[in-house]
Symmetry: C2
Subunit: 693 residues, 2 copies
Amino acid sequence: MVTSRTAQPQSWRSAASIPVRPASDAQPARDTAIGRIPTTGSSPTVPDGDFRPKAFVGEVVPFEITAFRDGHDRIGVQVRLTSPGGDQSLHRLNPLDGGMDRWSALVSVLEQGVWRFRFEAFSDEFATWRHAADVKIAAGVDTALMREIGARLFTRGAEERSRPATEKRALTAAAASLRDDQVDDVAARGIVLDDEIAAMFWRRPLTALMTRGDEQELLVERERAGVGAWYEFFPRSEGATVLEDGSIRSGTFATATERLPAVAAMGFDVLYLPPIHPIGRTNRKGPNNSLDAGPADPGSPWAIGAADGGHDAVHPDLGTLADFRAFVQAARTHGVEVALDLALQASPDHPWVTEHPEWFTTLPDGSIAYAENPPKKYQDIYPINFDNDPAGIRAEVLRVVRHWIQQGVRIFRVDNPHTKPLQFWEWLIATVNAEEPDVVFLAEAFTRPAPLQGLAKAGFQQSYTYFTWRNEKAELEEFLGGLAHETADFLRPNLFVNTPDILTEFLQFGGRPAYVIRAAIAATAAPVYGVYAGYEHFENVARPGSEENIDNEKYEYKIRDWQGAVETGDSLAPFLTRLNEIRRGHPALRQLRNFSAHWSDDDSVLVYSKHLDAALSPEGVADTIIVVVNVDPHSVRETTVHLDTRIWGIAPGDAYEVEDLVTGARWTWTDHNYVRLDAFTQPVHILHVKEAR
Amino acid sequence: MVTSRTAQPQSWRSAASIPVRPASDAQPARDTAIGRIPTTGSSPTVPDGDFRPKAFVGEVVPFEITAFRDGHDRIGVQVRLTSPGGDQSLHRLNPLDGGMDRWSALVSVLEQGVWRFRFEAFSDEFATWRHAADVKIAAGVDTALMREIGARLFTRGAEERSRPATEKRALTAAAASLRDDQVDDVAARGIVLDDEIAAMFWRRPLTALMTRGDEQELLVERERAGVGAWYEFFPRSEGATVLEDGSIRSGTFATATERLPAVAAMGFDVLYLPPIHPIGRTNRKGPNNSLDAGPADPGSPWAIGAADGGHDAVHPDLGTLADFRAFVQAARTHGVEVALDLALQASPDHPWVTEHPEWFTTLPDGSIAYAENPPKKYQDIYPINFDNDPAGIRAEVLRVVRHWIQQGVRIFRVDNPHTKPLQFWEWLIATVNAEEPDVVFLAEAFTRPAPLQGLAKAGFQQSYTYFTWRNEKAELEEFLGGLAHETADFLRPNLFVNTPDILTEFLQFGGRPAYVIRAAIAATAAPVYGVYAGYEHFENVARPGSEENIDNEKYEYKIRDWQGAVETGDSLAPFLTRLNEIRRGHPALRQLRNFSAHWSDDDSVLVYSKHLDAALSPEGVADTIIVVVNVDPHSVRETTVHLDTRIWGIAPGDAYEVEDLVTGARWTWTDHNYVRLDAFTQPVHILHVKEAR
């Protein structure tokens, strides 16, 4: 397919586009739903049509549509983009392989805000003629007629006002040649097949039967909504110290600040803190989720609210609101953004319980209902009943969110959003983003696909997913491919490898290789991933019968020797640091939709690539990463991987150089390559293709 | 799931529904796109939302939607139907297996016209309580509380105005028992789990947070739009006779009338005639598509138009317009409906060419463009250029269609609709059906999926499909399953086994068994299928290099000895007759969406069932057909078939009787059954399940 690079404004990158003046939207009125050139199934889109599809600044968005016409004539398809600032541009779509009427253009959107786009399909008179003239002149059929038709088209093409003078001259000359009896049919067919002329008509086609679709919208959010390496720690653990009596003194924002340089040095972009609010006393949980907390047990941060305050307060053990602001500022100076937890529930000691009992469920016996999953009860938590006073609850939550925004927070990790009304989130996120478009909400909804996806459609910028439970090759291929190609218009996965609630069997029983494998996949398969502190130390002992760490940090302080573990070689921190360096150095890894699975002959060797065309890349250089990972942490695997190298512009069979970005090893690869992955020493190759196009 | 049968009006059948008075559509205004109970992905629906989904009178339509809510409380879902005549009814949806928030109700729609439907989702207070009370009373937790909550719910249920008095009394008594200290918790739990009480609340639920979706439409067309056995013959061949000089005298409508009793006796419902109009002389095609027709060669009926007239005329060899009307009437008396061909193209001799040259494409040399697929030309045909005078062409085609409607035609088989603008068909079908809702259009579009499906969405009542090219077990399973479950809301397949244009390799080389196999599948897998005359005689010799019969009837008369072949046992007519009898006797075969593929251990033994619940069946009797077919016409296959008998209400492992409807043999089957299918003697079992529920 012919492409061209032209000077481009700041708001987009693409391989074949021209800036244009805003066009009139006028089109002939019609009495049918179907246009002259029928189109169907455009994307980006969100199923059901109630919501705008999403992208992030720098994301490469596939604009796709199915378009066809009656008969044999050729069509062209383009998409007219209007950036939030009003730049308008036309991007031609290429037909996708397979001859199934699907068209695609890749555009990297660089400006935050609401974009508008509209597909336009048309009869492509040049392409129709070119095909017919080619085969007919070759067959000696209608040659004079085809030459005359071509000459007329070229003349019309030359008359187009916006066409550069050099092209006008070339087309006029070609028209004359087609009409020149001295030019034989062989030479005339050369003109028919001339690639430069085809490129002129590709850029500025002769269009007929122009059919414009409805204007649609694409919400482009800030880059951090779609790209980031997250780290989670409990601030009370960072700098916690054992006193002489054996009790533990809580860490504070001040002591946690001392950990920030190390988090930044590992290359993380976002630091997520579990709730920082006062913790309830009533029915406080003790170590390992026991019901008999001692007086020194700190309780779960998710049991929010006490005499010291509720969702707008800071736990006195951590410091003051000013200390929190200082912490946020210190993080920022290290290039790390702080994310807060938003957990809409209350301990029995929360001020809401006395001030707004109507926000909870009162039982026939007059008591307030605990959180429960019958017959199990969670007696340190009252769930909010959103139906009792929707307006009052909306106002209060908005007040709380605005309060933290005022303290410098722009990212919220929302606890269990699927236990609150979906329409509440739609309203809250729309309201907050109307005031503060930079605010990002991450949905922690470990639930069924419909509510999980519903939260993403409703506005959440990021979502936890089933990633932790997708460990085998076949299920990872399907899962990661689905994230990249089925739901990416509305759902952005945040691939946390572990959480305080999730220590999977794979990690419990996979040894240190399991931790390497999972971090490598999370960091390379999607542009957002996360690590909860302790992962570096391979903390893999579960509380019996649970999928959580024993001595869970939710209920107690954790004092870890970060530096000591690095020094003894017992820390994954150096590997995580390298992963984050690789992510920063390779823009292909900061995209979601460019994931392609490849074949390997071994059922445990997962292979995928991430490719970014030069025309779409921030520095104009193509970037291709191939990840080959042995997902069986107990084995050594030798196999052959089979790659579709055309994705990165290399012909099947051609050789090219790759560099392992972890070890620095270099190999010459083709489309079929031997690999040996020893889970115990090096379970993964992260390969950079040196000559991708 | 609890169901009930109540007296039903004439407009629908379903397993669990109540007629209701028209409800107010009022619902609280909201500032979110998402309702309190979120829903998504409802069906029936047509992708892109521009068109109404379709059904036919008697069709069982699955009304489905994904619905879920926050937290653990149970929800209910119902669909409110309004028939064209204004009957309103409520049908509760059952959750589908798998716990994925998908709900379904099957309703057989019995009234032609535009139905309206609206989904309603609500918090089901009884179901929520029932689950919690069950597990909590069993665990001895909150028993008094759960009993009191239940008593309040029962009291509210008893107060519902529309509830029958017996139910009111039962609920009041149950409420008293729940509050009675003399009733112990074991007995109280019995009330919680009482099926009759659950049924009362299933029929008339206590609803909260009622969330109504948008009203949608379903177009229900006459039964023949969705059910029918088609037969195709060339009237000029029926009764054609060889004269003494060896030339052939054309058959006429009068002689073709003599063939009608046999067509009717075979059980066909629709008789489709290729074009009956005058045939052009200029560049007329001779036998086997040759370019040198002799004066006695009749030409292709699709080269429409001559001095005798165009699309509104009858070929003089066939008789007069009055003869045609008599033929249509004669067919009707035999229970056969005549379908006409609508082929919008002209021979060079068509009156349009001189009267409306603007309806064609004029080339720079002043000539009119022939139909072509460069470099190939079809010089007996001028294609219409719909863009030159869209209004004039619309008016003329509408005039032609109305003309044939006036002659008694209500079914049109449209030739190559994908070579005409899709929006033209949308307009034509809408315009014609607004005047004559009974008119059916069948699209002959052997093209890519997008235009094929586009024609169906645009209004065509039936579509030719890729059926003839789907011959292996795996591809048939996928193909037939897709027709039944992916596109049935807008596309109705007409499974022609052959056409004058299509003699597949499977038929060419499969011998007589191939003809048996393909007819059996076509007649049982979908409610509309078709046979082109000559199939009975296993006419399987192709013109070399083509996928058409040699000595194709398109270009010459065919004189066949129908009765003689039956007498010598060389006719498939008796088998076709039996297939059509089976279709008439089994309403399950007159449905499209009830197709279920089952497993067999042999790669060539295809197994599927078609089931109709008693509640949805015209006579209130369940109907289940199992088809087991050896799709390899050259082999004998012995294997085991594995059936999901739950589909027809039989528990896995239970025995039941089946009868082979072709041979009359009876067997006792379970869910795993041995079969032996000898392609040369009996390649197919069509089994009726005797005890389906």
